[in-house]
Symmetry: C2
Subunit: 344 residues, 2 copies
DNA sequence: CTGTTAGCGCGTTCAC
DNA sequence: GTGAACGCGCTAACAG
């Protein structure tokens, strides 16, 4: 017999509260909210007055439950929102989803597979209308399960493994390859590689692009020049320093993401060498480092927008099982010099 | 007589589906889910098997509707997620909320009051358990309305106007003041100010700190040295250039946020002057610009975490009407030189 | 034009 | 131990 602890004005009013006060049935209020023309103007006006007086707001959750329609919520699972790349992606996703009346529930996994798993399960339990994810790992069984239960899944930046889903990728291979080719064209023969853990798809592809470019130039990839696993700029700087300290150090470095590029930049500046630098992912102030820098750039907003579009289409069409689509966002090679920049 | 368009395996199974297949009542399944000990072990085992077979997941939305408990969702309203400041804030919020079993629904307003308004209304309609917002404007009636309806509101970075709410602020005044004092101590007498629009609280406070520091040094604030309204680095650079082109240009610039600091940096480098630079908000690579730089730094993650804590407390205690709390996050003055950095 | 009945998926109360 | 009834807030279908 616990008394209701909420004060009378604490609880948000329900449709019934409005109905009683307006002296009509709940149905009539419901119709007014739906702008159903079959309500007498006078009645509708009275109901609207009461709605305003009470500050009534329809409970969208209850509504979606009744309608069997979706919740209007989309899960967005990223590895690290603090990375500008992912925040831009999130922004792109959000901008497109907003146009479709969808809101994004964001979740940060910190590259941790367990977090990702429980996050996805929670999103499914909350009955999101779809999920956009940047999977942390090749183990994507939780995402596959969600997809199997009829929740549309779109992957960003990394492809699905062992299940079918739409995805938006970056031209990892091509971008890495052309950046490396540029270094080769500049006469470099000893080119180092710095990248994130080799379990990540993007890292694998970018390494492949790098290695193929070298191979085409008749240069075998030198394992001693390849350092993988650095996630933060600090680790990256250390790895770069190790390469620069080699008896026969590389004369150029290619970095598979902006964490590594920034780390490498710091190492080069400290070492005082003239090592050439190229990297994947653009970043702010890349033009202001006072070092020539070749960057593989791409539009991460667009990556998000495209993911949003793919998902919105799935949701609208309810086409859970139609053919899977894959989009690849192109890359551009940008050269930042010691003064200004030139797109290429 | 429209047939159900969903295939049999499309829909997520309900508690009843589990009950039928396990040949028990819905109630028993419900009990198993709640780990109610009053279920025969054998029955429980059978139910659990079916749950696994069907991949059943409880509908959290329906559950929260029935329980009258919250939705477990929190609205997070920011002005620009692409700004690292806000993405870190979001991350901080999310990390704390996650510990309380809450998820954040994110919304980006792009500093647009109308978007903010509709966003907040939508969040309330979705029955979020609370809202954390970085309000775009002094007009916060929509937030006040939400609070009045019993939805806990916490403001970050800017204080509530015309209503009561918890908030987490940065020491805008003190930070700006000490940075300006530092420039004064270095001998500067003509110090320019670059800031965002004067409608924003943080901008007002930071200007005040700047002006008071000057006043204490017996220097009147010179209107010609004050440029407000720049939101992006491009505009900021132009404004800075205008100051540098003055017949008697300032010998130092203080910038009220990192957009303006970066813009000013570019202008100074282009002009080739030795203008001293100080700014609010730390940013990556601030140490690598090859220019002495004084930065008012603070922990934006912590700002988010504190906001999350305040909100979580409100939600847990249901203390919608207890006294309002205000936290101020301290700032630190950091000096980046042409080689390395020193905290101060 | 308006109200009544029924039920979305779930959980509480109270019987058996 | 288990189940039937009832209701959370809302709305489609069917009366009147």
């Amino acid at each position: 017999m616990m008394a209701d602890t909420r004060g009378p004005r604490d609880a948000q009013p329900t449709l019934r509260d409005v109905a009683e006060r307006a002296e009509v049935s709940a149905m009539t209020v419901s119709r007014v909210l739906r702008d159903d023309p079959k309500v007498a103007p006078a009645t509708a006006a009275r109901v609207r007055t009461v709605i305003a007086e009470l500050g009534y707001r329809r409970n969208e959750m209850a509504r979606s439950l009744r309608l069997g329609s979706g919740t209007g919520l989309v899960g967005l699972v990223v590895t690290n929102l603090a990375n500008p790349f992912y925040s831009r992606l999130a922004l792109g996703v959000d901008s497109v989803l907003a146009q479709h009346g969808l809101k994004s529930v964001i979740g940060n996994t910190g590259q941790d597979l367990d977090s990702e798993r429980s996050l996805v399960q929670d999103l499914v339990a909350r009955r999101v209308d779809g999920i956009i994810a940047v999977p942390a790992d090749a183990d994507q069984r939780h995402l596959a399960a969600a997809a199997a239960e009829g929740v549309p899944v779109v992957l960003a930046s990394r492809p699905p493994s062992d299940f079918a889903a739409d995805c938006v990728l970056v031209d990892d291979y091509g971008g890495a390859r052309s950046a490396t080719e540029r270094l080769l064209a500049a006469g470099h023969r000893r080119i180092g590689f710095l990248g994130s853990p080799p379990t990540v798809y993007t890292s694998i592809e970018r390494l492949r692009g790098y290695a193929d470019a070298l191979a085409d130039a008749g240069i075998g990839a030198e394992p001693a020049y390849i350092r993988q696993g650095q996630q933060q700029t600090g680790e990256a700087a250390r790895a770069a320093s190790e390469l620069l300290d080699l008896p026969e150090p590389p004369t150029a470095l290619f970095c598979s993401n902006n964490r590594n590029t920034i780390g490498a930049f710091r190492a080069i500046r400290r070492a005082g060498t003239t090592t050439a630098l190229a990297g994947f992912d653009d970043f702010e102030l890349a033009d202001a480092l006072g070092l020539p820098l070749t960057i593989v750039a791409y539009d991460s907003d667009e990556l998000g927008r495209e993911a949003g579009r793919l998902l919105a289409t799935r949701i609208r069409d309810g086409s859970v099982r139609s053919a899977t689509r894959r989009t690849v966002v192109p890359t551009t090679l940008v050269h930042y010099g010691t003064s200004g920049s030139t797109a290429h």
